[in-house]
Every structure is written in structure tokens, then in C-alpha cells.
Symmetry: C2
Subunit: 197 residues, 2 copies
Amino acid sequence: MPNETYPAHYQGIFAVFNSIYPLSEEIKVAIIKNSEVVGVKRKTILLNAGDHSNTIYFIVNGGARVYYLDKEGKETNTWFLFENELLISVYGFFTGQPSFEYIETLEDSTLIAVKRDKLDEMYLQFMEFNYSGRKLTEYYYIRNEEQTNNLRMLSAKQRYDQLMLHNPKLFNRVSLGHIASYLGISQETLSRIRKQK
Amino acid sequence: MPNETYPAHYQGIFAVFNSIYPLSEEIKVAIIKNSEVVGVKRKTILLNAGDHSNTIYFIVNGGARVYYLDKEGKETNTWFLFENELLISVYGFFTGQPSFEYIETLEDSTLIAVKRDKLDEMYLQFMEFNYSGRKLTEYYYIRNEEQTNNLRMLSAKQRYDQLMLHNPKLFNRVSLGHIASYLGISQETLSRIRKQK
DNA sequence: CCCAACTTTTGACAAAAGTCAAAAAATCAT
DNA sequence: ATGATTTTTTGACTTTTGTCAAAAGTTGGG
């Protein structure tokens, strides 16, 4: 059955899952039935700290950031995510505990939203869906670990260079202030690092 | 069938998996068939940088560290793992790429070793096994993310305090030099932080 | 028990990064 | 376009953390 029989917005998410483990028609139908396509404006808060994170988003287009507030109330960004990526607050979504993180769109975005209870149903109904879920979790885990290792071992300048090398496009879509906290440095230091190049 | 019919060393690993998703007798038998119980001395290298990481270990007793060498050749520890925990080099094991990390036992240890191809076979043969695999990956992911956030946002002293609060027993089993690099600080700074308390 | 090896602490100094305040530049809505 | 916001840069200064070298303390094997 050709893919065109499914709504166009689902092309991306099906492709991502399908590249890991073949998605049966049943699962595709279930995904469509258990999800909702939503369009949101830039700067929309998708998750507030304190709330329960019960939705996972697949970004069809647009982008978002995950951040939290440090003791002085300053925002610290932990992730930036864009088209064809999954968007959650990892801690809140995985543990079911109230979130300490916020999720906010960076741009006008189209998202596929799946509620956690629906996702859990699908994981229990289609055991092979856990195969893809596991692989995707592994993939994001590795991305997180890279970040950990960079923070542990590299200087501010080296972390900046790494990001420039591996994700230069980020600088076109995210303000330097946001990038600074992601790199674990002050905005002023980031500015100075960029200047001395 | 009572658990005592299985080798005593497998109690812990079965309990860990069983608490996530019921382990069928078939999977238990497969795990035993596809694994090996190994006893190793303290300071045994289980994985060398450059090698392919093709074994996952469950620690029956003992402990190990995962570390790598920075540009100056200094060791940086990324994980400490002990009894009833899974032991891998995340990047190497998940990606299949040659490892940049080393794994070394910290104490004489008993381990259950499963080769990656055997694990993959089990994941394909028993789809519900992916459910447990996914949940375990999520669990270790969260632990890693905590570490990332601490490194991004907390001062050396605050990171030390966090570790003391959440994992004080670590200090009984791991030298301060090893803990320093795990916290992303120099040994001297760690020593000074501890003194000023 | 004692020596050798390893681990931890200390001191003096240097380098990295943060803070605060203000100016400059860029962006956005009207 | 233009004034108002937001973002980025700059300067002066402070704090944090690192580095190097040496001393002190600890541990384990013979």
C-alpha cells in the first residue's frame, strides 16, 4: 500500500520508525488514531515545570527548546530539537514525575502529539514497537552522553568549537543567549569566544 | 517454577528484568544459554579503546569504571557501576563503532557477560524483551542526564555536594582521584572542597 | 614490620570564566 | 521607516578553578 494513503504529515515519523524496524500497517493506523497533528505559534509553552509531562511530540516542522530554571531563576537550555526529531522532557516523560523542565517552541511549528497513555497502549499492543522505541532511546541517549562528556572535559571554547563543527545550523535558528546556557557558559563568555576567532 | 532451579548468580539479573516486565521461562533459559558467568580480578580491563564493544555485563558483585583519555592522555571517568547494574560503554555498544572508552574493574568482580549478537538475537526472538530493554535504557539515560545537568549548571562544590547527597557510598569504593574526573574537576580542587566543609 | 607505590593534601601562582553595568546592534510591530 | 524591545558586545573587575611542584599520608606485598 503506497504511503500516500496516509496523511502527508505522517511521512516523516513513519520514515524514522520504518528505518529502524518495519512498521506494520496496523501500527501506522494505530499511530494515526492515537495522535493529533497540532500547529502552534512560536514561543508556545508545550510543557510547564510542575506539570506532568504526558505528551511526546514528533516535530513535522519548526523547532523547540527544553529548558529549566536554575536557583536564581535563570533559564538553562538542555535540548534544541527540530524537524523529524522527537520532543519530550526526558526526565518527566520517562519517570512520570512532575517536570522540572519547560518545553517552548522556537518557531511556528507543526507537531504530531501522542499522549503517554496511548503510547504505552501501543507499546503493550505491538511488542515490536518497543524495538524501535528502544533504538530511538539509545540514539538520544548517545547524543546526551556526548554533551555530558563535552561538559566534563572541554573548555568553554572547545565546547563552542565542537558545536560549530557538529551542528553549525543551530546558530541560524537559535539565539546566542540560548546557546550559551546550553554550552554551560555565560552569554558574555560566548560573545568573547566568538570574537577572538 | 521456583527461581532456585536457576543458577544462583542469575537471581539478580532476573529480578531486575522481572520487575519491569515478566520474564518468561523461555527467556530465562535463553539468557542462561546465551551468557557466561565470569570472575575477574580487580583492575581487569574489560574493554580497550579502539576495540569493538561487543559484550554487555551484568554485575553480580564487584564494580567497574568506564573512562577515556583526554587529549593530554589523562583519564576521565564517565561511569561507576556496581552490583545489579548493567555495564557497557554506551557509545560503543549502542553504535557498534570502535570504542573511545575503556572499562576496568575496580574490585574483584563476578559478571554475567552477554555478547551483543546473542543479545540482538534475543531482542528479535522475544519482542517483549525489548520492552525491558527500552525501560532500562530510559533509566540509565535519566541518570546520565542528571549528570549532564549538574555539569552544565552547578559549581564544582555543588556537584560534589550532590554526589555526597545522592551517592555517598561511592566514596567508600572509589578513590578521590577517580571521583574528581567524574565530577569534571581536578583532584586538587576536590581536595580543597572537601577540606573547607 | 617496612619499603615502595600510590593517593591525597598543601602552597603559590596562573588561567578561565563569571558578574555587573552600560553601550551598541539587530529585530519587530505598528 | 521608526521607536521599542530584544539580543549581543564591551569593559572593568571578581571569583572559581586549574596547574605545577612538593610534602604528607595511606596501603599492600614481601
